[in-house]
Symmetry: C2
Subunit: 349 residues, 2 copies
């Protein structure tokens, strides 16, 4: 299989269906496969990620995931929840570097909650460590206390090797961009933050001295993203801080429904591509979700895993033209349905 | 002592000096005391928080802290860093509930990076758990790995009792406001998040069913704060998420240099008051920092620990009048020095 589609939950199947249409038109020779994932997989098989699905993901050249989770599964035990399926997929595929662009599409600058001049032309990249840290560390448990009540524990763990490999991705990316990396942690109060800073500093000195490196505390990074996001080029951070900071940054651009992401592992292994938005249970099933984030995730897959840069360029240009001509789903202030936005892109291809 | 002043580092001493002037004019009968703290204490005594200082803090009726930290102490071992002094002060005083307002001062709405209509009239309160979670949990260490490289561990720990007491503060506060609490965690991927949600839900059902409670994932909270901050009344969260979210929210208001905070423990024990801004090494020593956040922290101390509501009202009104008359330090787009802003407030008292 070239591309494994995992539509998942909520608006996931709706937006993934548009990816399928685009793929069939643009790259009809690509072999596609589709499997249940997340809550949908739990409902069918009692697990959010079936063994065969993980095996299929590892055997594919690229995986495109729609979205997972929703209130329907809030009562399911944590290790069977849709989100656990996604964590296990990321870990199983060893995609440790999550590239999340904070990009403001020109025609959409006014959709941002920030003042126009702060976001117009905004283009930075968050590199989030994706398979380590507190979402994975052991021990993790909830125990009963002898005197009554409970105690819950999660563990943040990072090794030199885990930090170094994701930092390397950030430095390499920066070289192809504006040559700046800001590394965010809480080295003032966390031991993992101290090690993070040390490893990034060492790697920089050893191999990337040509890249401009700054260190920033994660709480200050949250402030700076809100205050003056254009100061960033590549923002490197851990799994937990990356989760929060990338969502704030994506929302800021006013283009949340437009933003794709890529999770990459070692060269030659399949990448995992996902829209940044979630499963959006509030609008699921209504056919109004914006499919562009999923379509642009496919564009990233073409470029980075499927060796189809020419088609990726064509697809990107088609999305731009559709937007220029005024194609807008509801999140962008328009009235197009999911399918109509798919049509608009197909018409430009 | 009524009020212990801990000026600390960076701009801390500059802004605290203005608090002293205001206190001497407004409440000359209050007994003030002042001690070194943070990096300044480390330089003098080899520890960021001397035992006598902690004892003095616990014996005072209220403590006002300026700011801690700076590049000067970046190389100091973690347990001797200025920030460690602050964590130990919070823990030693058992001030588990940190109240951080996200408040947009009317005359300053245009200073926000958000569009005016999104922040004008903004007034919500973040209640951050302050003495538990990952900044305190054990084990925490960095170890050498046998094959080379290192491994760093931090531990997030929360108990039912810790969550319940801070949630209680949030619910009580909400009753005196717009009666809404949003509780933020990552219960979809963290065990501490699961326990957090469970304890907050139980307490709500048992004692605060009249308050409107919603649960929100912390990453989504970061988005919502940026997108539509006015939806919040009281936002309850843990130490780590509270650190990040409250900084983003404070910056959004455009009034960062104006925002005070209070850290409270059990009734009758002294509260710890701090401006939200940090030590701002870039402008320290220049006499241009905005002292209003520190002055308003004193206002909170008057109200909540020192039983001087009438004087607190007078002080708040004086600050408002000074702003209305156009008093502005550099962060607010003006040219007043720290001392001149102090003068402006004193003139209105
Ligand atoms: C769904 C969830 C497990 C996931 C995460 O927290 O990593 C999501 O929030 C994300 O950011 O991709
Ligand atoms: C200085 C530091 C220890 C502190 C924290 O992280 O709690 C600060 O960032 C804050 O938010 O008060």
């Amino acid at each position: 299989t070239d591309l494994l589609l995992l539509p998942g939950d909520g608006i996931g199947p709706e937006v993934t269906a548009q990816v399928r249409r685009v793929a069939e038109a643009l790259t009809p020779d690509l072999k596609l496969e589709e499997r249940l994932f997340g809550g949908a997989s739990y409902d069918a098989f009692g697990t959010p990620l079936a063994d065969e699905t993980l095996a299929a993901a590892k055997a594919a050249r690229a995986v495109l995931m729609g979205a997972v989770g929703g209130p329907k599964w809030a009562g399911v035990p944590r290790d069977k929840r849709p989100e656990a399926g996604l964590l296990n997929l990321r870990a199983g595929m060893e995609v440790f570097a999550n590239l999340r662009p904070a990009l403001c599409f020109g025609p959409l600058a006014d959709a941002s909650s920030l003042k126009r001049e702060l976001v117009e032309g905004l283009d930075f990249m968050i590199v989030r460590e994706l398979t380590g840290g507190i979402y994975f560390g052991e021990p993790r448990f909830i125990e009963e206390l002898p005197g009554g009540g409970k105690r819950a524990v999660d563990t943040q763990v990072y090794t030199t090797a885990e930090i170094e490999r994701v930092a390397r991705v950030a430095f390499e990316l920066a070289r192809g961009r504006r040559n700046k990396v800001a590394s965010a942690e809480k080295s003032n109060v966390m031991d993992s933050g101290l090690l993070w800073r040390e490893v990034v500093t060492d790697l920089h000195k050893r191999e990337y001295a040509d890249v401009e490196l700054t260190h920033i505390l994660a709480d200050n990074a949250a402030m700076q993203i809100v205050k003056a996001p254009k100061q960033f080029d590549v923002l490197l951070t851990d799994n937990l801080f990356g989760d929060i900071l990338s969502d704030a940054a994506a929302q800021l651009t006013g283009s949340l429904g437009m933003l794709p992401s890529a999770a990459l592992g070692v060269a030659g292994k399949p990448g995992l591509y996902e829209p940044i938005h979630g499963s959006a249970p509030d609008i699921a099933g209504q056919g109004v979700a914006n499919p562009l984030a999923a379509i642009l995730s496919f564009e990233m897959a073409l470029r980075w895993s499927l060796d189809r840069a020419a088609e990726a360029d064509r697809l990107y240009a088609a999305v731009e033209r559709a937007l220029e001509k005024g194609a807008r789903t509801r999140d962008l202030g328009g009235a197009l349905t999911t399918v109509q936005m798919g049509d608009a892109v197909l018409a430009e291809l």
